[in-house]
Symmetry: C2
Subunit: 236 residues, 2 copies
DNA sequence: CCCTTCTATGAATCGTGCT
DNA sequence: CAGCACGATTCATAGAAGG
């Protein structure tokens, strides 16, 4: 199966793809979680996620200004499209932060998937330490499957907590994940299978999939990141 | 303030305590999460959580056979009682597993607390591997506060992920937590404050509180564990 | 006392087969 | 057919046993 990076909105592109043609869904959708108030959430991500008065390092990305209710509906919409594209028993991994974790497990299950657990990404460094509080040093991968997941799948035992620091040189998107982290995660896919990432961003999931011997298809609607991801994938 | 270990049901005991007299709520309630079917959930914990036909190492504990709906209602009931007992701004820490995490964040917020984050207990590797799956090696601490939480509280910066293996000699309850883990957690309480644990079990939270210089009050309804906890605390 | 070898265990889960 | 009981499975680590 040919690898492809498609430019456009996942909700438009997914319906054009062939049913039952993917072995795993692994993606990092917009969290829509920055900001305590609805108003603060509607600022573009480059203002929302930047500390202090620093200028934005990364281009804005789309799809991050919904309120909780709309965000859930939107998650269920694209997840349901993905359910059609996945083979029976295929695993699903969705990144989320603590604030959106319950919404993410709801969305996964509303879309008809079986929720099977949570894997923790431990960033190891304290992000914004605050006296008298716990550090906010983890993000979460909500994972599950389309229907039952036979034990004879060709996939290894995978870690439930992945300790991986964020390295600037390896972060090409505002919410980009370390390549080493993604290389661990994609291994939930059956050996040599085909990985779907409808929110490819700077393409780290696709790069990891390629490095681990999978084929892949990604969608990304922001021109800038389609170019970034394209270059990274071409350089492999 | 005198330290006390009370014997009885939390829902009965909590209303008898004085309002605004605690600086932190730190507890590990029954999760009611084992078992795929209603029937399986009603088995005692020693059968539910132990593999194979091995004989039970620890005595059973009560309150683990509710379904999701009743479990939520019950959580909100005792949490609301605790809200009355806590001072304004006091932190709350609730243990939970991946399956009950969304329910726990709901319960915390339904009872009127502000949800502030999740802290991860990483049990480290060695926990029941399964091919083709992520290891289930973490439990979670949902934490928050009664109302706003001033930054000038006398409490240190605390870790967001705590790596701590389970040691047999340090585990006196089927679901007992390591003392080292609890010593880290209780430090969310303001220096020298008073800690409440309505589900004391073998008393690890109270032991940790004592070791870290806090005063404490615990409730436990199972005779056996009241005795175990009493002995541990007396031995300090 | 230190090192090596061995064994037991885990807040499970899946699939089968019986009721 | 739905629901439930039961056996099989996975491996890093702790802790015991032995040299």
């Amino acid at each position: 199966m040919k690898n492809q990076l498609l430019k456009g909105d996942a909700l438009t592109l997914l319906p054009t793809l062939e049913a039952c043609s993917f072995d795993a869904l692994i993606t990092d959708p917009p969290y829509a979680s920055g900001g305590l108030t609805a108003g603060a959430r509607q600022k573009p991500p480059s203002e929302k996620y930047v500390q202090g008065g620093k200028s934005a390092l990364h281009a804005d990305f789309a799809g991050d200004e919904r309120d909780q209710r709309s965000h859930l509906r939107w998650m269920v919409m694209w997840l349901s499209e993905c359910a059609r594209l996945l083979k029976e028993g295929a695993p699903v991994c969705l990144f989320t932060d603590w604030r959106q974790l319950p919404l993410t497990t709801d969305a996964l299950q509303c879309a008809g998937f079986t929720w099977r657990g949570i894997t923790v990404w431990d960033k190891t460094e304290g992000v914004r330490p605050q006296l008298g509080r716990f550090r906010n040093q983890a993000e979460y991968v909500v994972w599950g499957s389309k229907g039952s997941m036979p034990l004879q799948r060709r996939a290894p035992v995978l870690p439930g907590v992945i300790r991986e620091p964020v390295r600037k040189a390896d972060k090409l998107h505002m919410t980009g994940k370390p390549t080493a982290l993604m290389r661990q995660l994609v291994r939930i896919c059956e050996e040599g299978g085909r990985v779907l990432d409808p929110f490819a961003g700077s393409g780290t999931t696709l790069v990891a999939a390629q490095l681990e011997g999978y084929s892949w298809l990604g969608c990304e609607m922001t021109d800038h990141y389609v170019e970034v991801a394209g270059q990274r994938l071409a350089a492999l």
